[in-house]
Every structure is written in C-alpha cells, then in structure tokens.
C-alpha cells in the first residue's frame, strides 16, 4: 500500500547516480532480441485480470483492462479487455469466409483476401465498452479497483471497410430494415442491428492499432459498431443477414436488456452514454507523496465527442474543469488530467463527462432514480474514490 513521504534533499550522494550501473557498462541485448517485442519485466503486473468467481467458466467470462496502469488514449492490443461466450476461436484466415445474404439482390461470399481488396478502406479510433461495464456497482460500491469497476473498455484504431460497401455490393432490398451479424466462434454470437446504423458508420475491420486483430478480439474479422454496446461488435464475423425485423436473439432479450424498478425492461438500448472514471489515483494506484500530483482519467461517449470533463476533490461540492490532453475524437476514449497540490487531506474524487450533444454524466443516485438497481447494463454513473491521508484509495459512494 501507499506510504506518503515528504519531498526532501538528499544528504549524501545517491548511489544510483555515483555508481555506474551495469546497464551503462555492459552491452545489453541485441536489436532483434524479441522480433515481436514484449514489455519490460518490471511491468509484469500490468496485465488483464479475470475474477474467476464471477462466472462459472473461463470460456464465458471476462478479463479486465488494467486501466489504472495505462495512460493516453490508445489501449495496447495485449491489454484490451476480453469477453467471450464460447472461448477464443483460433481461426485460420485462409479458411474464414464472410457471407452477406437475406433480403438482398445478390447474396455474396467473400474471402479475407477479397475483403482486403475492397475499395473504401478507412482507419478510425473508437472505444469499445461492454454494456455490462460497471454492472457490478448498481447496488453500491463493490469491487476495489477501476480495472474491475470500469475495465471492460478499450480504445484502438481500426482498419477496415464500411459495412455499407458490402451491403451495397449485395444490393439491399427495399424491405430490409435490420441486419443480423453472426460470429464463427463456439457461441455463434448474434446481434440484430438496425439497417440505418449498418449503413452509417459500421466497419468490417481486420486490423487494430496497425496489426491484424488479436485472436481474442475476433481475428481475422470483427464488426465495428461505433458508440454502441460492445457485445454488438461481433468478433470472428462470418455472416450478415438482411431482414425486415429484429431476430430476438438471446443477447438482445435474455441479456443486454435493461430491467427497471417497475419490472419492465428496456430493449435496444444500443448507445453507450457519456461516462468517465479517474484511473489514477484509484485503489490499484494509490498516491505515494504529498505535494504535486496528477489526477488522470478517461472519458467517452457513444453519442459523440467529449467536450468537457469536470473533476471534484470533495465528493461533488465543487468542481474544476480538467484539461483534455491528446486527440478528442468522436466515439473515442479521451484522456483528461487535473494537476493538484495535495496536502494529505482526505479526498472524495469524482469525474463528470460531457459530450457534444449536451449530455452530462449523471450521479449514481440520479441513475437509480430512473432505473432502479437491477439494470445490470449501462451503468454510467459518476464513480467516487475515497483517497485517504496515507494515499490509499477506495471505491465508495457518497450522498
């Protein structure tokens, strides 16, 4: 845990300066030590983590992004959270096919090679958030760390072709109003998506952050559904069917519907509302010293671009607008900072995101007033960290 030490001048010369370290004297490893590079051994704790008791099996479970240790706006591919429903399909790309059929003039089959030859290739930065992110926290503070409370999100650059190009190649019939997207994994994951969204900004993507999709993110092909529930971003994408009504699939009825206090449920709550979280300090990233410190966090909105993030140190009594640093792109994760001078007093840290539609991230109380506590999904309430005088942080809720 944290030990807060005062800033002070050294009395005697620092041995790490006056003694030549081994790495300045002896040669290090050669340039091709790792043809595909890996992190420093000193960063070995910066990994995805599974909470095994949350689920019955690892093949239908989640492994969370270590947000507390990351910065900037891009999630490294190796640390993007993983959510599977039938384990990680290990697909030979030469054997992968992509089919468009249903209410189209000309059902088509594409190989991976065909897809990479399609005109209109593009690159876009988008966050992907699981609709169940923060789902544990509806009934009160639960898990102690933003890796667990908010770690079902990542943000990468996708390379792909608009889904529209494939739909136009097949020729959507006038009755077509919805599409069904299906994966090739052992859950054969399916979701119904309105045709309007499919024709708007969805991508059929094969690369993330410059390289091929990672197997756990849908290699060789994934659907990108900007700003919408992560579950809709079908991994291992093999099929798009066009139809005139939604398919009532398990993941849009039994799951990913939002049970409200009156016992009724919202369905088709596709958009991920504006949300933010302070990633440092946080329970896994305590403060280590008084004086200058940086409050760092992320904000995002499925409705558009983050325009402002406010931070409070006193549980919401007073707010200061944070600096947004780095690209602030539509439907992408955005980084904010607030430089603080901490005198060691307890803080109740929160962040509040706003987007260009004017939406303001609500408090948990405001959310519960509309939705109750049984929703599971779409918990975008303001998160509070109690930072104690010893620098340790804890997940709490405030009045």
């Amino acid at each position: 845990a944290a030990g807060v030490r005062p800033a002070a001048a050294e009395a005697t010369p620092d041995p790490d300066i006056v003694n030549i370290p081994e790495w300045t004297q002896a040669l290090g490893a050669g340039v091709n030590n790792h043809p595909y590079g890996i992190p420093s051994p000193f960063e070995k704790d910066v990994v995805r983590r599974e909470v095994t008791w949350l689920t019955a099996s690892s093949e239908s479970s989640v492994s969370f992004t270590p947000l507390y240790a990351l910065d900037g706006i891009i999630t490294p591919n190796g640390l993007c959270f993983v959510r599977h429903h039938g384990g990680e399909a290990e697909i030979d790309p030469a054997r992968h096919r992509f089919m468009i059929h249903g209410m189209v003039d000309k059902p088509l089959v594409f190989t991976m090679e065909d897809i990479k030859r399609m005109p209109g290739r593009t690159n876009r930065v988008y966050f992907l958030e699981c609709a169940a992110n923060s789902g544990m926290e509806w009934r009160g503070a639960q898990l102690n760390g933003c890796q667990y409370t908010h770690g079902m999100i990542h943000n990468v650059v996708y390379t792909g072709v608009p889904l529209r190009a494939f739909l136009e190649a097949a020729g959507v019939k006038p009755q077509g109003k919805w599409v069904l997207a299906e994966g090739a994994d052992a859950s054969a994951m399916t979701r119904s998506i309105p045709l309007e969204k499919a024709m708007d900004d969805c991508l059929v993507a094969w690369a993330m952050n410059g390289e091929a999709l990672r197997p756990e993110q849908g290699y060789p092909l994934r659907l990108v559904v900007p700003g919408w529930e992560g579950n809709m971003w079908i991994k291992w994408l093999r099929r798009i069917e066009v139809g005139d009504q939604p398919w009532g699939q398990r993941e849009e009825t039994s799951k990913y519907t939002d049970l409200l206090a009156d016992g009724r449920s919202r369905r088709f709550t596709f958009i991920m509302d504006a949300k933010s979280v302070v990633t440092s300090p946080s329970p896994q990233a305590p403060l280590r010293a008084k004086g200058p410190n940086v409050v760092s966090g992320i904000a995002w909105s499925g409705r558009g671009t983050i325009t402002r993030v406010d931070v409070t140190l006193d549980g919401g009594r007073n707010w200061t607008t944070a600096r947004i640093e780095g690209p602030a792109l539509p439907r992408a994760m955005t980084r904010f900072y607030l430089d603080v001078d901490w005198n060691g007093e307890e803080m109740l840290l929160q962040s509040r995101a706003m987007d260009d539609t004017g939406y303001v991230q609500p408090t948990k109380a405001e959310l519960r007033a509309v939705r109750g506590e049984n929703s599971i999904y779409h918990n975008n309430g303001i998160q509070t960290w109690l930072v104690r005088s010893n620098g340790e942080a804890e997940n709490v809720e405030v009045s």
Binding site: M99, A169, T253, K255
Partner: protein, 199 residues
Amino acid sequence: DAVKLGRPALPEEIKAWDIDVRPDGLGLPEGKGSVAQGEELFQNQCAMCHGEFGEGVGRWPVLAGGQGTLKSERPEKTIGSFWPDTSTIFDYVHRAMPFGAAQTLQPDEVYAIVAYLLYLNDVVPDDYVLSKENFPKVALPNQANFYDDDRETTEKAFWNANPCMKDCKPKVEITSHARVLDVTPDAGKQGDKPAGAVE
C-alpha cells in the same frame, strides 16, 4: 459501378449458415419433439450444468423459475420469468448448446428440449409436443414487459447545459464502501464474493 469482389453465395452455403430463428417463426426447420423426449435429452446433456429442473448447478445459468422476482432485490431472470420469445430458446440452444458441443443437436432434439424447457417453466403441459407448425403460438409470460429505448425522453434531465460547479451540496457523506476490498486475484488475499454478477 458495382464492386467486382466476392462471389455469389450458393443456396447450400446459405442454408448451412442460416440457422437463426425469429420470433415470428422464420427460420424454423421441419421437425417436432415432446416434453418427454426433451426431458431425457436434457438430463443427459444439460442437467449437469443447468440442474435437473433448470435450477442451475453452482454458477451455471438458471433456466426455470424466478416468476414474480423481477421487481425484487434479487431478480431471477429465466425463460419463464423474463424471456419474451420462445424462438430464442430454439435459436440459442441450437446454435450454442450444449456448451462445448455447439450445433450438434438435430432439429427434432431441439424441438424436444425446447418443449421440456417450456414445461419446466409452466408454459406447456407435460404431454406437449412442439413442432414447426404449432410453434409461434407459444408466447412467453413476460413478453409484454419489453419496450424500446426511451432514454432520450425519460432521461432528458441528463442533458443539462450548465451543471453545478460551486457549492453544489451542503455536505457529503460516504454511503457505501467497496464490498470486495482486495479483488486483485494475484495479490493472494481474495475478498468476499459480491452481490452482483457479470452476465
């Protein structure tokens, strides 16, 4: 001009992949199966995880029961208590179950298992035979309680141009502490299991 990529999908190819079943019955294959046949299949291939009566073993999903719990503190969302459409059972069991041997069940077997699951959920009697023909008539109890996303109207208050910046509340008190303090699994000290669940 038209893109010259891709090739026509053959009817056999579409048939092989087009396994989805819609609430209106579109996509159902020919076939039928009884509750009794379904019970046998279920006990052999499903009960080890979902329990003899769909009550769930350990943390594996519960498939039956839970009626009347949706407004409670611990809603139990099952086929009978929550699911809107019978078609979803057929579609999902056929595409993804048994967990680990997906798409191994034949149409008649799926009909039988769906019949048994409907029976376990008090939707059909024990002598029921489900088929492509009588399928769409079987409605599920909670169907009427779903409605489309209305956040833009019911949560209109969240669009608020000028959120409070100064002296927003008189006093702040901590109302809840993290239930699981030490969740990091590799740090050795596993905490209590929390109330919620990742679905």
